[in-house]
Amino acid sequence: MPVSPELLEILVCPDDHAPVRLVQEGRGLKCDRCHRVYPIRDDIPVMLIEEASVEADAPPHG
């Protein structure tokens, strides 16, 4: 079962409390402020700073 919409509504980055959004085809949750991506494993968001990777924004197309 995918992460429930009710949970997605209230999840924030544990470091800076900014909102997170689904990325990587639903396999991660990204904080646009600190660029951390938190993994989703077995449909469970792992909102741990030590488990996150840092993903820079994609460069604009030009």
Binding site: M1, E6, E9, I10, L11, V12, H17, V20, I44, V46
Partner: protein
């Protein structure tokens, strides 16, 4: 009650302890259920929309809430740092599907939820194994997460002046001084000491069961 100067266990030690022993925690139900009944009687769970639990353990209280106390549309989010506790609680709460989510924690509490996202914040028999500074930090997280008027609902192991409890605490404290791990890191506490500004104490009672005493506390987040 003053905080004990005795050492507390680290988060890594707590995780290891509850990974090893956590599956047996439900055996303590005979000591905990009277305190839980008092908590349930004073925290208006029938009106709750979203419950957050810090240290959900085996999910026993969450199961009771979801099955019998909360309205059908209410949601629950639990957190724990022990892999065993996460596995046991997820298995226990699986039948509630999307209404119940259990997420991992690690180290000092950083709950990844938005301000005002819940109206009940539960911490049962977990604040009493934290350092006073970390217990206060959890209470501050509760203040951040609770919507105005929301309720902090806590139980801790407490001290009582009766002879059975004094004898029990003497043994408990001696074991704790030998190694906090002998008693799972828990020490008698008074949760009122951790409430900062922003709270109104709504209910506080000592519940005795055999020689063991629990403090039940319900505090309301002020607007």
């Amino acid at each position: 009650m003053a905080s004990s100067p005795a050492p507390r266990i680290s988060y890594a030690q707590a995780r290891a302890f509850y990974d090893r022993c956590g599956r047996w925690l439900d055996l303590q139900r005979c000591l905990e259920d009277a305190a839980f009944a008092d908590l349930l009687a004073h925290a208006d769970f029938a009106d709750a929309k979203r419950v957050v639990e810090f240290g959900c353990g085996t999910g026993r209280l969450a199961q009771r809430l979801l099955a019998r106390e909360l309205p059908p549309h209410a949601h629950y989010v639990g957190f724990d740092l022990s892999t065993t506790m996460l596995r046991v609680s997820r298995s226990r709460l699986a039948r509630f599907r999307a209404r119940a989510q259990v997420l991992p924690l690690s180290g000092p509490p950083r709950l990844p939820l938005a301000p005002g996202s819940c109206d009940r914040f539960l911490a049962t028999y977990v604040l009493d194994l934290l350092t006073p500074a970390d217990a206060e930090a959890v209470i501050r997280q509760a203040l951040r997460l609770l919507a105005p008027g929301g309720l902090l609902c806590a139980t801790v192991m407490a001290a009582h002046s009766g002879l059975p409890n004094r004898a029990f605490r003497s043994v408990w404290t001696a074991l704790h001084r030998l190694s906090p791990l002998f008693v799972g890191g828990t020490q008698p506490a008074d949760a009122r000491a951790w409430l900062g500004p922003g709270w109104r104490l709504r209910h506080c009672r000592l519940i005795r069961r055999f020689a063991v005493c629990s403090q039940v506390l319900v505090a309301q987040r002020l607007p």
